[in-house]
Amino acid sequence: MESPISTYAPRTRREQVLGAMVQVAAAEGYESVRVAEVAARAGISEEEFGRMFASKSACFLESYDAVIDVLLAHVAAAFEASFGEPWQDRVVAGLRALVELLAVKAEIARMAIVEVTAIGEDARIRYRAALERFVPFLEEGRTVGARGEDLPEETARFAIGSATAMIFNEIRSGRGAEMQRILPDLVFAVMTPYLGVEAAEAEMRRVGG
Protein backbone atom coordinates (compact mmCIF):
# COMPACT_ATOMS: atom_id res chain seq x y z
CA MET A 1 0.00 0.00 0.00
CA GLU A 2 1.26 3.48 -0.80
CA SER A 3 1.89 5.31 2.41
CA PRO A 4 -0.79 7.89 3.24
CA ILE A 5 2.05 10.07 4.46
CA SER A 6 3.49 10.56 0.99
CA THR A 7 0.07 10.81 -0.64
CA TYR A 8 -0.82 13.81 1.46
CA ALA A 9 2.53 15.56 1.62
CA PRO A 10 2.28 19.31 2.26
CA ARG A 11 2.62 21.49 -0.82
CA THR A 12 2.76 25.03 0.55
CA ARG A 13 4.39 26.79 3.47
CA ARG A 14 0.98 27.14 5.07
CA GLU A 15 0.39 23.41 4.79
CA GLN A 16 3.77 22.80 6.39
CA VAL A 17 2.71 24.87 9.37
CA LEU A 18 -0.60 23.03 9.57
CA GLY A 19 1.27 19.75 9.41
CA ALA A 20 3.60 20.88 12.19
CA MET A 21 0.61 21.89 14.32
CA VAL A 22 -0.94 18.45 13.86
CA GLN A 23 2.32 16.72 14.81
CA VAL A 24 2.89 18.80 17.92
CA ALA A 25 -0.74 18.64 19.07
CA ALA A 26 -0.84 14.89 18.53
CA ALA A 27 2.41 14.34 20.41
CA GLU A 28 1.83 16.66 23.36
CA GLY A 29 -1.89 17.36 23.53
CA TYR A 30 -3.44 20.61 22.37
CA GLU A 31 -3.12 22.41 25.71
CA SER A 32 0.65 21.98 25.76
CA VAL A 33 1.23 23.23 22.22
CA ARG A 34 3.46 26.30 22.04
CA VAL A 35 3.39 28.43 18.91
CA ALA A 36 7.18 28.70 19.05
CA GLU A 37 7.52 24.95 18.72
CA VAL A 38 5.12 24.72 15.80
CA ALA A 39 6.87 27.57 14.03
CA ALA A 40 10.31 26.01 14.60
CA ARG A 41 9.15 22.66 13.32
CA ALA A 42 7.74 24.29 10.18
CA GLY A 43 10.95 26.27 9.70
CA ILE A 44 9.41 29.72 10.10
CA SER A 45 9.66 32.46 12.68
CA GLU A 46 6.99 33.21 15.25
CA GLU A 47 6.40 36.52 13.46
CA GLU A 48 5.62 34.66 10.25
CA PHE A 49 3.30 32.39 12.16
CA GLY A 50 1.54 35.48 13.50
CA ARG A 51 1.08 36.82 9.97
CA MET A 52 -0.43 33.52 8.81
CA PHE A 53 -2.74 32.77 11.71
CA ALA A 54 -4.69 34.93 14.13
CA SER A 55 -4.00 32.59 17.03
CA LYS A 56 -2.88 29.15 18.09
CA SER A 57 -6.48 27.98 18.09
CA ALA A 58 -7.15 29.39 14.61
CA CYS A 59 -4.17 27.43 13.33
CA PHE A 60 -5.27 24.32 15.17
CA LEU A 61 -8.82 24.45 13.81
CA GLU A 62 -7.53 24.87 10.26
CA SER A 63 -5.14 21.97 10.77
CA TYR A 64 -7.99 19.93 12.17
CA ASP A 65 -10.03 20.59 9.02
CA ALA A 66 -7.06 19.41 6.99
CA VAL A 67 -6.79 16.18 9.01
CA ILE A 68 -10.48 15.49 8.50
CA ASP A 69 -10.22 16.27 4.77
CA VAL A 70 -7.37 13.79 4.42
CA LEU A 71 -9.26 11.14 6.33
CA LEU A 72 -12.40 11.62 4.33
CA ALA A 73 -10.54 11.79 1.02
CA HIS A 74 -8.77 8.55 1.87
CA VAL A 75 -12.02 6.75 2.67
CA ALA A 76 -13.84 8.28 -0.27
CA ALA A 77 -11.05 7.26 -2.64
CA ALA A 78 -11.32 3.64 -1.53
CA PHE A 79 -15.09 3.78 -1.82
CA GLU A 80 -14.95 5.34 -5.29
CA ALA A 81 -12.18 3.04 -6.52
CA SER A 82 -14.58 0.14 -6.11
CA PHE A 83 -17.34 1.91 -8.05
CA GLY A 84 -19.64 -0.58 -9.76
CA GLU A 85 -19.03 -3.29 -7.20
CA PRO A 86 -21.69 -4.25 -4.66
CA TRP A 87 -22.29 -1.71 -1.90
CA GLN A 88 -21.09 -4.20 0.71
CA ASP A 89 -17.69 -4.47 -0.97
CA ARG A 90 -17.40 -0.71 -1.28
CA VAL A 91 -18.21 -0.18 2.38
CA VAL A 92 -15.63 -2.80 3.36
CA ALA A 93 -13.09 -1.04 1.13
CA GLY A 94 -13.89 2.31 2.76
CA LEU A 95 -13.73 0.92 6.29
CA ARG A 96 -10.49 -0.90 5.53
CA ALA A 97 -8.95 2.33 4.28
CA LEU A 98 -10.20 4.08 7.41
CA VAL A 99 -8.74 1.62 9.92
CA GLU A 100 -5.44 1.42 8.03
CA LEU A 101 -5.00 5.16 8.07
CA LEU A 102 -6.06 5.42 11.72
CA ALA A 103 -3.54 2.72 12.66
CA VAL A 104 -0.64 4.29 10.75
CA LYS A 105 -1.44 7.71 12.17
CA ALA A 106 -2.42 6.56 15.64
CA GLU A 107 -1.24 9.72 17.42
CA ILE A 108 -3.12 11.98 15.04
CA ALA A 109 -6.18 9.76 15.28
CA ARG A 110 -6.11 10.07 19.07
CA MET A 111 -6.00 13.83 18.78
CA ALA A 112 -8.67 14.01 16.08
CA ILE A 113 -11.15 11.56 17.59
CA VAL A 114 -10.64 11.39 21.34
CA GLU A 115 -8.98 14.59 22.51
CA VAL A 116 -10.99 16.78 20.18
CA THR A 117 -14.06 16.25 22.32
CA ALA A 118 -12.26 18.10 25.15
CA ILE A 119 -10.62 20.86 23.11
CA GLY A 120 -13.55 23.19 22.73
CA GLU A 121 -16.84 23.82 21.07
CA ASP A 122 -15.38 24.90 17.72
CA ALA A 123 -13.43 21.68 17.40
CA ARG A 124 -16.39 19.55 18.43
CA ILE A 125 -18.60 21.21 15.81
CA ARG A 126 -16.02 20.25 13.20
CA TYR A 127 -15.85 16.70 14.48
CA ARG A 128 -19.63 16.28 14.30
CA ALA A 129 -19.75 17.84 10.84
CA ALA A 130 -17.05 15.38 9.76
CA LEU A 131 -19.12 12.42 10.92
CA GLU A 132 -22.09 13.74 8.97
CA ARG A 133 -20.02 13.62 5.80
CA PHE A 134 -19.96 9.81 5.99
CA VAL A 135 -23.74 9.66 5.68
CA PRO A 136 -23.94 9.60 1.84
CA PHE A 137 -21.60 6.58 1.63
CA LEU A 138 -23.90 4.59 3.83
CA GLU A 139 -27.22 5.75 2.49
CA GLU A 140 -26.62 3.88 -0.77
CA GLY A 141 -27.21 0.82 1.40
CA ARG A 142 -30.92 1.56 1.23
CA THR A 143 -30.92 0.33 -2.34
CA VAL A 144 -29.35 -3.01 -1.37
CA GLY A 145 -31.70 -4.56 1.15
CA ALA A 146 -35.34 -5.27 0.33
CA ARG A 147 -36.45 -2.86 3.04
CA GLY A 148 -34.65 0.26 1.90
CA GLU A 149 -37.52 2.71 2.02
CA ASP A 150 -38.84 1.34 5.31
CA LEU A 151 -35.58 1.96 7.15
CA PRO A 152 -35.64 4.67 9.81
CA GLU A 153 -34.53 8.10 8.71
CA GLU A 154 -31.70 8.06 11.25
CA THR A 155 -30.22 4.76 10.04
CA ALA A 156 -26.94 6.22 8.78
CA ARG A 157 -26.38 8.22 11.95
CA PHE A 158 -27.07 5.12 14.02
CA ALA A 159 -24.55 3.09 12.03
CA ILE A 160 -21.93 5.84 12.23
CA GLY A 161 -22.52 6.16 15.97
CA SER A 162 -21.96 2.44 16.52
CA ALA A 163 -18.77 2.46 14.48
CA THR A 164 -17.36 5.66 16.01
CA ALA A 165 -17.92 4.41 19.53
CA MET A 166 -15.87 1.30 18.78
CA ILE A 167 -13.07 3.34 17.26
CA PHE A 168 -13.19 5.78 20.19
CA ASN A 169 -12.95 2.91 22.68
CA GLU A 170 -10.03 1.29 20.88
CA ILE A 171 -8.07 4.52 20.90
CA ARG A 172 -8.89 5.27 24.54
CA SER A 173 -7.81 1.76 25.50
CA GLY A 174 -4.43 2.31 23.85
CA ARG A 175 -5.06 -0.07 20.93
CA GLY A 176 -5.23 2.63 18.26
CA ALA A 177 -2.18 1.34 16.41
CA GLU A 178 -3.90 -2.02 15.86
CA MET A 179 -7.15 -0.59 14.54
CA GLN A 180 -7.30 -3.17 11.71
CA ARG A 181 -8.27 -5.77 14.30
CA ILE A 182 -11.74 -4.30 14.67
CA LEU A 183 -12.48 -4.14 10.94
CA PRO A 184 -14.89 -7.11 11.16
CA ASP A 185 -16.71 -5.50 14.09
CA LEU A 186 -17.03 -2.23 12.20
CA VAL A 187 -18.36 -4.02 9.13
CA PHE A 188 -20.94 -5.73 11.30
CA ALA A 189 -21.97 -2.54 13.12
CA VAL A 190 -22.36 -0.51 9.94
CA MET A 191 -24.20 -3.15 7.91
CA THR A 192 -26.62 -4.54 10.46
CA PRO A 193 -29.08 -1.64 10.35
CA TYR A 194 -29.20 -1.84 6.55
CA LEU A 195 -29.03 -5.57 5.90
CA GLY A 196 -30.09 -7.26 9.12
CA VAL A 197 -28.00 -9.46 11.38
CA GLU A 198 -27.53 -12.53 9.19
CA ALA A 199 -26.32 -10.72 6.11
CA ALA A 200 -24.13 -8.45 8.24
CA GLU A 201 -22.60 -11.47 9.97
CA ALA A 202 -21.85 -13.03 6.61
CA GLU A 203 -20.04 -9.85 5.55
CA MET A 204 -18.18 -9.80 8.85
CA ARG A 205 -16.96 -13.37 8.30
CA ARG A 206 -15.80 -12.48 4.79
CA VAL A 207 -13.38 -9.93 6.21
CA GLY A 208 -12.13 -12.40 8.79
CA GLY A 209 -14.33 -11.90 11.83
Binding site: S162, A165, E201
Partner: protein
Amino acid sequence: MLEAVGDVGYEGTSVRTVLDRTELYRQAFYDSFSSKEDCFLQAYDDGVERVEAAILRAAAGESGWRGQLRAGLGALLEFLDSEPDVGRALIVEVHPAGAEALAKRTAALERARIFLDQGRAEAALNGNGPPQLAPEAIASGIHMIVHSRLAAGDCDGFRALLPELMYVAVLPYFGPEAAKREMGLS
Protein backbone atom coordinates in the same frame (compact mmCIF):
# COMPACT_ATOMS: atom_id res chain seq x y z
CA MET B 1 -24.96 23.33 37.80
CA LEU B 2 -26.35 21.01 35.12
CA GLU B 3 -28.69 23.64 33.76
CA ALA B 4 -25.90 26.19 33.58
CA VAL B 5 -23.56 23.73 31.85
CA GLY B 6 -26.29 22.65 29.43
CA ASP B 7 -27.08 26.27 28.69
CA VAL B 8 -23.65 27.88 28.28
CA GLY B 9 -21.32 24.86 28.11
CA TYR B 10 -18.88 23.42 30.65
CA GLU B 11 -16.09 25.79 29.69
CA GLY B 12 -18.37 28.80 29.87
CA THR B 13 -19.64 27.88 33.32
CA SER B 14 -17.84 29.21 36.38
CA VAL B 15 -18.52 28.87 40.09
CA ARG B 16 -19.85 32.44 39.78
CA THR B 17 -22.44 31.29 37.20
CA VAL B 18 -23.67 28.63 39.57
CA LEU B 19 -23.79 31.03 42.51
CA ASP B 20 -25.84 33.49 40.47
CA ARG B 21 -28.33 30.82 39.48
CA THR B 22 -28.70 29.34 42.95
CA GLU B 23 -28.32 32.55 44.98
CA LEU B 24 -25.85 30.68 47.16
CA TYR B 25 -22.93 32.39 48.85
CA ARG B 26 -19.46 31.39 47.73
CA GLN B 27 -18.69 29.98 51.16
CA ALA B 28 -21.78 27.78 51.06
CA PHE B 29 -20.68 26.45 47.67
CA TYR B 30 -17.21 25.58 48.95
CA ASP B 31 -18.66 23.93 52.04
CA SER B 32 -20.18 21.33 49.74
CA PHE B 33 -17.82 21.26 46.73
CA SER B 34 -14.08 21.59 46.43
CA SER B 35 -14.18 23.02 42.89
CA LYS B 36 -16.26 23.52 39.76
CA GLU B 37 -15.19 20.07 38.56
CA ASP B 38 -16.17 18.45 41.86
CA CYS B 39 -19.57 20.14 41.67
CA PHE B 40 -20.08 18.97 38.09
CA LEU B 41 -19.12 15.39 38.96
CA GLN B 42 -21.61 15.27 41.80
CA ALA B 43 -24.27 16.91 39.64
CA TYR B 44 -23.51 14.43 36.87
CA ASP B 45 -24.02 11.47 39.22
CA ASP B 46 -27.23 13.01 40.44
CA GLY B 47 -28.52 13.69 36.91
CA VAL B 48 -27.67 10.22 35.61
CA GLU B 49 -29.32 8.69 38.66
CA ARG B 50 -32.52 10.64 37.94
CA VAL B 51 -32.58 9.54 34.30
CA GLU B 52 -31.87 5.91 35.16
CA ALA B 53 -34.54 5.92 37.87
CA ALA B 54 -37.09 7.25 35.37
CA ILE B 55 -36.10 4.55 32.86
CA LEU B 56 -36.28 1.73 35.39
CA ARG B 57 -39.55 2.99 36.84
CA ALA B 58 -41.14 3.04 33.38
CA ALA B 59 -39.72 -0.36 32.48
CA ALA B 60 -40.91 -1.95 35.72
CA GLY B 61 -44.52 -1.54 34.62
CA GLU B 62 -43.98 -3.73 31.56
CA SER B 63 -43.42 -7.40 31.00
CA GLY B 64 -41.15 -8.74 28.30
CA TRP B 65 -37.96 -7.18 27.01
CA ARG B 66 -39.50 -5.29 24.12
CA GLY B 67 -42.18 -3.74 26.33
CA GLN B 68 -39.62 -2.74 28.93
CA LEU B 69 -37.31 -1.35 26.32
CA ARG B 70 -40.10 0.69 24.72
CA ALA B 71 -41.13 2.10 28.10
CA GLY B 72 -37.54 2.76 29.19
CA LEU B 73 -36.51 4.45 25.94
CA GLY B 74 -39.75 6.43 26.04
CA ALA B 75 -38.89 7.65 29.55
CA LEU B 76 -35.40 8.68 28.41
CA LEU B 77 -36.78 10.64 25.45
CA GLU B 78 -39.43 12.32 27.59
CA PHE B 79 -36.75 13.35 30.05
CA LEU B 80 -34.79 14.97 27.21
CA ASP B 81 -37.93 16.73 26.00
CA SER B 82 -38.67 18.17 29.41
CA GLU B 83 -35.09 18.99 30.48
CA PRO B 84 -32.99 19.49 27.34
CA ASP B 85 -30.38 21.59 29.20
CA VAL B 86 -29.76 18.79 31.69
CA GLY B 87 -29.64 16.31 28.81
CA ARG B 88 -27.05 18.42 27.03
CA ALA B 89 -24.94 18.67 30.20
CA LEU B 90 -25.03 14.90 30.74
CA ILE B 91 -24.55 13.77 27.16
CA VAL B 92 -22.65 16.52 25.33
CA GLU B 93 -20.81 18.69 27.86
CA VAL B 94 -19.44 15.73 29.80
CA HIS B 95 -16.65 15.60 27.20
CA PRO B 96 -14.72 18.71 28.18
CA ALA B 97 -15.29 18.00 31.90
CA GLY B 98 -12.19 15.87 32.41
CA ALA B 99 -11.10 12.27 32.75
CA GLU B 100 -13.17 11.41 35.80
CA ALA B 101 -16.34 12.65 34.12
CA LEU B 102 -15.49 10.60 31.02
CA ALA B 103 -15.03 7.50 33.17
CA LYS B 104 -18.48 8.06 34.65
CA ARG B 105 -19.88 8.41 31.13
CA THR B 106 -18.26 5.12 30.11
CA ALA B 107 -19.78 3.42 33.16
CA ALA B 108 -23.24 4.79 32.34
CA LEU B 109 -22.99 3.50 28.75
CA GLU B 110 -21.93 0.13 30.11
CA ARG B 111 -25.09 0.00 32.26
CA ALA B 112 -27.13 0.86 29.15
CA ARG B 113 -25.41 -2.00 27.34
CA ILE B 114 -26.33 -4.43 30.12
CA PHE B 115 -29.92 -3.18 30.17
CA LEU B 116 -30.16 -3.72 26.41
CA ASP B 117 -28.61 -7.15 26.52
CA GLN B 118 -31.39 -8.48 28.70
CA GLY B 119 -32.99 -9.10 25.33
CA ARG B 120 -30.51 -11.90 24.68
CA ALA B 121 -32.26 -14.54 26.79
CA GLU B 122 -35.63 -13.78 25.25
CA ALA B 123 -34.18 -13.81 21.74
CA ALA B 124 -32.61 -17.21 22.49
CA LEU B 125 -36.07 -18.63 23.20
CA ASN B 126 -37.01 -17.67 19.65
CA GLY B 127 -33.88 -19.35 18.34
CA ASN B 128 -32.04 -16.07 17.69
CA GLY B 129 -28.47 -15.61 18.84
CA PRO B 130 -27.55 -11.95 18.49
CA PRO B 131 -23.83 -11.26 18.17
CA GLN B 132 -21.87 -10.23 21.25
CA LEU B 133 -21.43 -6.78 19.78
CA ALA B 134 -25.14 -6.07 19.39
CA PRO B 135 -25.86 -4.21 22.64
CA GLU B 136 -22.76 -2.04 22.37
CA ALA B 137 -23.62 -1.15 18.79
CA ILE B 138 -27.19 -0.28 19.77
CA ALA B 139 -26.24 1.81 22.79
CA SER B 140 -23.63 3.74 20.82
CA GLY B 141 -25.89 4.23 17.83
CA ILE B 142 -28.73 5.60 19.93
CA HIS B 143 -26.25 7.74 21.84
CA MET B 144 -25.01 9.23 18.57
CA ILE B 145 -28.50 10.13 17.38
CA VAL B 146 -29.42 11.79 20.67
CA HIS B 147 -26.00 13.44 21.01
CA SER B 148 -26.08 15.01 17.57
CA ARG B 149 -29.53 16.49 18.18
CA LEU B 150 -28.63 17.87 21.60
CA ALA B 151 -25.36 19.27 20.31
CA ALA B 152 -27.07 20.97 17.40
CA GLY B 153 -29.72 22.41 19.73
CA ASP B 154 -32.35 20.50 17.77
CA CYS B 155 -34.37 19.55 20.84
CA ASP B 156 -37.96 19.47 19.59
CA GLY B 157 -39.69 16.19 19.90
CA PHE B 158 -37.25 13.57 21.16
CA ARG B 159 -40.30 11.44 21.92
CA ALA B 160 -41.00 11.23 18.19
CA LEU B 161 -37.73 9.29 17.75
CA LEU B 162 -39.07 6.31 19.70
CA PRO B 163 -40.29 4.27 16.70
CA GLU B 164 -36.94 4.58 14.93
CA LEU B 165 -34.93 3.78 18.03
CA MET B 166 -37.08 0.73 18.75
CA TYR B 167 -36.48 -0.44 15.19
CA VAL B 168 -32.70 -0.29 15.43
CA ALA B 169 -32.64 -1.80 18.94
CA VAL B 170 -34.94 -4.74 18.22
CA LEU B 171 -33.44 -5.57 14.80
CA PRO B 172 -30.30 -7.41 16.00
CA TYR B 173 -32.24 -9.42 18.58
CA PHE B 174 -35.47 -10.35 16.80
CA GLY B 175 -34.90 -9.65 13.11
CA PRO B 176 -36.42 -7.27 10.57
CA GLU B 177 -40.07 -8.35 10.85
CA ALA B 178 -40.22 -7.84 14.61
CA ALA B 179 -38.28 -4.59 14.28
CA LYS B 180 -40.74 -3.25 11.77
CA ARG B 181 -43.63 -4.26 14.00
CA GLU B 182 -42.05 -2.32 16.86
CA MET B 183 -41.66 0.74 14.68
CA GLY B 184 -45.38 0.58 13.98
CA LEU B 185 -46.30 -0.04 17.63
CA SER B 186 -44.34 2.74 19.24
